[in-house]
Symmetry: C2
Subunit: 445 residues, 2 copies
Amino acid sequence: NEAPVSTIATIGQHEGQRVTLRGWLYNLRSSGKLLFPTFRDGSGTIQGIVPKAAVPEIVFETLKGLTLESSVVVTGKVRADSRAPSGYELDVEDVTVTQRVDDANPFPIQLKEAGVEFLMEHRHLWVRTPRQSAILRVRATIMRAAAEYFDTNGYTRTDPPILTPNACEGTSELFEMDYFDDEKAYLTQSGQLYIEATALALGKVYSFGPTFRAEKSKTRRHLTEFWMIEPEVAYMDLEGLMEMAEGFLRHIVTKVLETHRGADLKLIGKDEAKLEAIIAEGAFPKLTYDEAHAMLKDAYAAGKIEKPHEYGDDFGSPDETYISSQYDKPVMVHRYPAAVKAFYMQPDPKDPAKALCVDVLAPEGYGEIIGGSQRVDSYDLLKKRIEAHGLPLAAFQWYLDLRKYGSVPHSGFGMGIERCVAWLCGLEHVRETIPFARTLNRIYP
Amino acid sequence: NEAPVSTIATIGQHEGQRVTLRGWLYNLRSSGKLLFPTFRDGSGTIQGIVPKAAVPEIVFETLKGLTLESSVVVTGKVRADSRAPSGYELDVEDVTVTQRVDDANPFPIQLKEAGVEFLMEHRHLWVRTPRQSAILRVRATIMRAAAEYFDTNGYTRTDPPILTPNACEGTSELFEMDYFDDEKAYLTQSGQLYIEATALALGKVYSFGPTFRAEKSKTRRHLTEFWMIEPEVAYMDLEGLMEMAEGFLRHIVTKVLETHRGADLKLIGKDEAKLEAIIAEGAFPKLTYDEAHAMLKDAYAAGKIEKPHEYGDDFGSPDETYISSQYDKPVMVHRYPAAVKAFYMQPDPKDPAKALCVDVLAPEGYGEIIGGSQRVDSYDLLKKRIEAHGLPLAAFQWYLDLRKYGSVPHSGFGMGIERCVAWLCGLEHVRETIPFARTLNRIYP
Ligand SMILES: [Mg+2]
Ligand SMILES: [Mg+2]
């Protein structure tokens, strides 16, 4: 009799019944006349039990010498087992090998440790290992939850162009290419300027796509290609933006916990209590730049940080780490000196040397995960700023138009998905946060 | 007393009450001592009534000469009116102008017809007009529904790289750029090869991102930058793929009707009955290539198409239009000659000259909206195909690895979002289907 096809993730629905799994041999242990193959199918892993005495000889012999990552269709009976990581085991009854990995040419990523360069060179295979698969599932949940927050709160998704005629914040670190007829095009670094236009059309919008930075740095935080989600809202001020950013992050963390608690998060080794703390009652802490500076001054005086923070400068990575380590929720630092921030940020009417901006610093030293601001809404000021920054006025004419025809106060932010994945999964390096990382030294596979 | 802030879309919740709207002056008519301003706020438009006798003089005078697209905050009482397109009108009580558009420099897109080049040059403002805003809202619904179908059916979103070291189907029509250290990178034309790798890791996956084609054609169907959604499933065959494609399209059309019936679709001028027909009971029609060829042969004999279809050739645009015009649902044409299809398509075991592939042709002459196939799963055959197509073997080594280590039957398809938007909105040209279209002649704004 036919056994229904099941995934490993949903196998609990078939307890006590026969099912067919379609997947791969992930691991194989044997103990005399008992085999313990572990199967994976993309949704999870499950251990099978194959007693020589209980199965047809061909089944035992097929599995006995089977090479790892061979593709197999397995039929067996589902048995609850509280000791099993997934809660179930499979009493194997039948197996068909779809493709047998050659003995002379085994799966290159074995269960032992391999070097990072080797793993990245084999990323197309490395993604199969349980930890990497789990990270990619959490990434997918983060992306879905991020879009869902906006979709269910009245935002319209509007996609800005990837190929742009000019730089958002100057032309350094831009990837340049030939367009047709001797024109140049540049890969976008942010959709912000474009979604300011769609926000004035549609009110509440967001964009969600890849962005690029031709940065020659080899740090654990930088990719040349990364995904950004950016909301932009007409008639929203900085206070509204901070409230929205908190709701957005709470929604993402809630969904990640709901979907991966006790499973993928455990496998990855993330301390779930740290995520629970983020969504616990109590607003995210808010500090002005001045308050954060004062905190760092005290910290330096008390010998808790190595270098003093110079008033007026942006915060360095150790500064951000110290500030965020004072809280178990993300910290919102707002109203930085305008001089260290982008040209399009609205000055604080109470202190025009400050920008109406906010950086959200993630806990555990993960640094800035969100950067946002209210945007300059005066034509004259924006024009002055563009000129003062040495940006080509002609290229920004359309952007200036937005201040000519029905300008309104408006605000938005950007969140890089990979930073967020690194933070919520507790990863050392962003290269594991995306299926195929692009870095200074790597565009293969 | 403060009136609550409302959007125009949700104003019905405040019938009989005072509300504040934040938006723009879209249109202004006057009739003696009565003004009829129409306001827009991104969620919709509503007409206001301003009788000179009933409002403070300053309110009447402010609105009387107000330039179109000036930003305004308006307070008034919501009144149901069955003659109004939105079902409501606003008895204006107060108005504040946030920014007044200069009389000497009016909003460049007036309510009368403007040339396409002018509109595209002012796309950042054109998106504000009701028809363009409506199209962008439908686009957002399509994108959301497309992702939702996969998210709620056990798929994991995995993002393929945009910067790739080699071409998916040969190196023509690729945008090339310098990466670091004299390397070349190319903008992706499809994420398929990469998500074949993640499908073998995660089982059911999809990608959703921009893709690029450096095509020197100026047709109404081509953009150089467009968005694709691509599912890929391990252990799925062509029959399973066709079933999935139908479920996917039904979900999208259902959501578009649910969200935009009688409103945006009406404004755009789409015949909603054509969309209802798609999701009505009854499976999508399926034709083999051979059956479709026979249909075209009869059509030519009957004088219904101008040119005969040559057996073995791909279908031309008039052929596809004729085939699809026979049905009111999308048509699935499967098993094309392998010679006219891509190298990675699995041959039909019953007739190896045919590929296990499917093109889904949209009704109303919108052509191919989905192209998919079962993929070659044999290492030897795939290697032979890569060589026969003159593709560089070294660049495809990682792709070949997928057939070496646990190869399985697997299938996937790609759908271009812009084609789908054009079809579901009934648009002549794809340039209106995306916020900032990129074509042979345009990368501004
Ligand atoms: Mg910062
Ligand atoms: Mg075709």
